[in-house]
Amino acid sequence: MARKKSRGPANTDIDMTPMIDMTFQLIAFFMFVINFTEAEQDERIQLPSSQLAKPTEGTIETPITLQLTNSGLVVYAGELVKVSDLRGYLEREKTAMIDADKEPTSATVIVRADGRAKTGEVQDIIKLCQEKGFERFALRAKYDEGH
């Protein structure tokens, strides 16, 4: 078979259009999927799962997230604190709310407790929050589609 002899550095223009199309599609996909909201999820916590824990629509007004680990420590604003030390932090939350002209009762305390944690510790946390005037609680669980 006779082949055309190439003449040195040939004009090697590749058609870039499909690649650019693909890349733009990928960018569009990642832009849609990206979630900038600061969802406080700590990998140390394995939430219990529940088929009724449907993701909430809309945002929670003034959320306070308290995450209880398996070992009985609370992750509050990225720090590990003891349940007994939580009182001071909650007091600060309360003062901040009052300064912002909000009632502590309007805040929602999101309790992300590990499934293996002790119920009594969860109740201790709830009790501390109640003492500071918080009364709305959201017990968070992983949404389980199966069964």
Partner: protein, 146 residues
């Protein structure tokens, strides 16, 4: 062309790197003001509260469930008993809406059991839809204070 492709790849790298895979989570809303038992208006208490007792073994596993002092074998039976009690209507003024569940748990009980109990009493999934049962949930005070 090259500068554009450079920028496009940079953008893509940025979006890929900042992508977080977030697992779907949901909340059980519990409203528990301090001293709720005393503050509750008597006309709201037409239906006596359902008392669910969850006892634990020393290792934190579930030892037994009792509903209003009668033993219940598992969470599925608990749900059936709740459905028997409140019926199937779950409108704004139904029995389910007025009934309150009081969870009485041992201190060492693993928290996942509490979530399972709340799941059993607060609703059921029927044909992909959630049918709400009892929404008012409260806890008895913790028994042991460390």
């Amino acid at each position: 062309m090259t500068p554009m492709i450079d920028i496009v790849f940079q953008l893509m790298a940025f979006f890929i790197m900042s992508l977080k895979i977030v697992q779907a989570e949901g909340d059980f809303d519990v409203r528990m003001p301090l001293g709720a038992a005393a503050a509750a208006a008597p006309d709201d208490q037409l239906v006596p509260p359902v008392r669910v007792r969850l006892s634990s073994n020393p290792d934190g596993s579930l030892a037994g469930i009792k509903m209003n002092d009668s033993p219940v074998s598992d969470f599925e039976e608990l749900r059936k008993k709740v459905i028997n009690l409140v019926g199937n209507d779950s409108g704004p003024n139904s029995i389910a809406d007025k009934t309150e569940v009081e969870l009485d748990c041992d201190y060492d009980l693993r928290y996942e059991n509490v979530v399972r109990a709340i799941t059993s009493v607060s609703g059921k999934v029927q044909g992909g839809e959630i049918v709400e049962l009892i929404k008012k949930i409260k806890f008895t005070p913790p028994k042991k204070i460390n």
